[in-house]
């Protein structure tokens, strides 16, 4: 079973984000890392291929600046090959264009039995790309998967719902989005990291995939203002001296909640 995992490389969430002054887009000029929420998809793919007994895991990504360090992390975890679509003309692309590009990248790799993505990225969190990829490829999809199994040619997913979860069955090929926590992502081993440097990672442009880049001009949306929200003020902060619980009781009393 061959699986393609769609991953995003994002600015390190540990450092504070900033917007570009002219485009108002999130600055992505520094080193990019593998979005933590995509590590779950990579791990899920590796486990499914291992239990199927055959097949390979590929990763695809889109980035405007040729950055590959996040993809190398996925290769170090065990994916065998990567395809990065990198094109300055893609800067400012909306989620729909991103999905068209990633769908074309999946096709360029020869398709797959299963395509996996995270439910949303940790930097932009639009949250529509996996389902848009499915529609672009004409495939069925199961989103918000919290448990995934492949039984022969049948995909079996526990899909999160507002009140619990649904058991969903689907034929392959299909697209799934997986939630954080679906599996425990492995840490790349030292050998994995060394091997990843030699694994094939092709870089192509939007033109190579015959996708028309729709950057700033054609995104169908334009940021008109960026303003500071009214900040919530901090109140009283006290160190617990063993009696601080009394302050909470008084606070709740004051609000007539007790």
């Amino acid at each position: 079973m061959n699986i393609v995992v769609c991953v995003k490389q994002i600015p390190d969430p540990a450092s504070p984000g900033a917007l570009d002054a002219s485009t108002h887009a999130l600055k992505r000029d520094g080193k990019l890392i593998l979005d933590e929420s995509d590590a779950y998809g990579v791990e899920m793919a590796l486990q499914l291929v291992a239990s199927a007994g055959s097949g390979e895991v590929f990763v695809v990504s889109m980035a405007p600046n040729g950055e590959t360090s996040g993809m190398r992390t996925a290769l170090a975890m065990g994916a065998v090959k990567g395809l990065l679509v990198s094109d300055p003309a893609l800067a400012g692309s909306d989620a729909l264009t991103t999905a068209k590009v990633l769908a074309a990248a999946v096709t360029k790799l020869g398709g797959a039995d299963l395509i996996i993505a995270g439910t949303e990225s940790s930097d932009g969190y639009t949250g529509t790309v996996p389902e848009q990829i499915a529609e672009c490829l004409g495939l069925p999809s199961v989103t918000f998967a919290k448990k995934v199994k492949v039984d022969g040619q049948v995909l079996k997913v526990d899909r999160q719902s507002e009140t619990g979860y649904d058991e969903v069955e689907c034929s392959l090929p299909a697209v799934i989005s997986v939630t954080a926590g679906v599996v425990e992502p492995r840490y790349p081993s030292f050998k994995g990291i060394m091997d990843a440097k030699k694994k094939p990672l092709d870089v192509v442009t939007a033109g190579d995939l015959a996708v028309t880049p729709a950057g700033w001009a054609a995104a169908g949306q334009k940021i008109v203002s960026v303003t500071q929200a009214e900040a919530r003020k901090a109140g009283t902060v006290i160190e617990d001296d063993g009696e601080a619980f009394g302050k909470i009781v008084a606070f709740l009393e004051n609000l007539k909640l007790i």
Binding site: H24, D94, L96, E120, Y125, G127, T128, V129, P130, E131, A134, E135, C136, L139, P140, S141, V142, T143, F144, K146, Q160, S161, E162, T163, G164, D166, E167, V168, E169, C170, S171, T179, A180, A219, G220, Q221, K222, I223, V224, S225, T227, Q228, A229, A231, R232, A234, T236, V237, I238, E239, D240, G242, A244, F245, K247, I248, F251, L255, L257, I258
Partner: protein, 322 residues
């Protein structure tokens, strides 16, 4: 552009229209003369309440027979648009089915999507949607360019649901077109988690726990305190991911948005992801060991201390009063 015709993605739960649906209808009727609710299922039981909140027309697909709603409803919406009723704006809730439907429809219509919004306005720049970023500290206003239908989704509680006293709407049946292999996913069983006490997103008091609790077993402190305050227990994403409590407990960006009278955050440092879901609370109490924790920046009362010491004493004091 002027907005004349808005569709609202409408949902029911337990035989009544969801609060989120009524919030969107209330906002829609303030923007457009013609408001239509699009229901994935039977509209019978909820049509009157959709009308009371501003819908003058309802499209209903009838039972989806186990199909996943996203792919089925996007196809049904596309068929209505192709037949001539093309809205200027379609408003979706920021939830599983809203996201899936707008995503499928965006490809079918070749239109962009704007998600995670808290407001929408009809302005000289066009239809403008507002989304909070960086944990809600910055508001970004984005205008749709080009032709509608504009696809836009909203976080829960972005608008207040108010009845307009509107009449019962016209209900029009819409068939779901043949989905071919795209409709291959089928729901074969449904599991609902039973919970007692008030619902997390409706409770007047919410008590949430995070990593600072140390281990899963200590979550009972959160449940005990919530019960004493007639509130609902919640959780940070960290302990949901760790499997301590089910996803339905999660407060934050990817969980529930709560706005209770009092929110108590115990052992939660205050990651952006979490704060987005609770900073609209009227009062916030935080207990955390680390005095540099970001949660103290928005707390009305912050206790720098060990949750394992503060919570048992607080629970004991409340029990002594009851």
């Amino acid at each position: 552009m002027a907005i004349n015709n808005i569709w609202v993605f409408a949902q029911a739960s337990g035989g009544v229209a969801t609060t989120g649906t009524l919030e969107l209808l209330t906002k829609a009727r303030s923007l457009a003369g013609k408001v239509t609710a699009f229901v994935g299922g039977d509209a019978g039981a909820i049509a009157a309440s959709l009308g009371e909140h501003g819908a003058t027309k309802v499209y209903a697909t009838g039972d989806l027979a186990g199909k996943l709603p996203g792919v089925a409803l996007a196809a049904a919406m596309k068929s209505v648009i192709d037949s001539g009723d093309s809205p200027d704006v379609i408003m979706f809730p920021q939830n599983y089915e809203g996201r899936d439907t707008m995503a499928r429809l965006s490809v079918k219509l070749n239109r962009t999507v704007l998600t995670n919004n808290i407001d929408i306005a009809d302005t000289a720049d066009g239809v403008v949607a507002t989304t909070p970023i960086f944990g809600g500290n910055v508001l970004v206003a984005t205008a749709f360019s080009g032709q509608g239908p504009h696809l836009v989704s909203f976080r829960p509680k972005s608008f207040a649901a108010e009845s307009s006293g509107g009449a019962a709407p016209e209900v029009v049946a819409v068939a779901v077109p043949d989905l071919g292999k795209q409709g291959a996913a089928k729901v074969v069983a449904t599991h609902s988690e039973k919970s007692s006490g008030p619902k997390l997103d409706e409770a007047a008091v919410v008590v949430s726990g995070g990593r600072g609790l140390g281990e899963a077993g200590n979550y009972t402190l959160i449940e005990d305190l919530a019960k004493l305050l007639k509130g609902a227990p919640g959780a940070s994403r960290a302990i949901v991911d760790a499997g301590w409590v089910p996803y339905s407990y999660q407060v934050g960006q990817t969980g529930k948005v709560v706005k209770p009278s009092v929110y108590i955050a115990a052992g939660i440092s205050g990651a952006t992801q979490h704060m987005v879901g609770m900073k609209g609370s009227k009062n916030i109490i935080a207990i955390n060991k680390d005095k540099e924790a970001p949660i103290f920046g928005i707390a009305d009362l912050g206790i720098v201390g060990d949750v394992h010491k503060v919570l048992p004493k607080l629970i004991e004091a409340l029990k002594a009063r009851s």
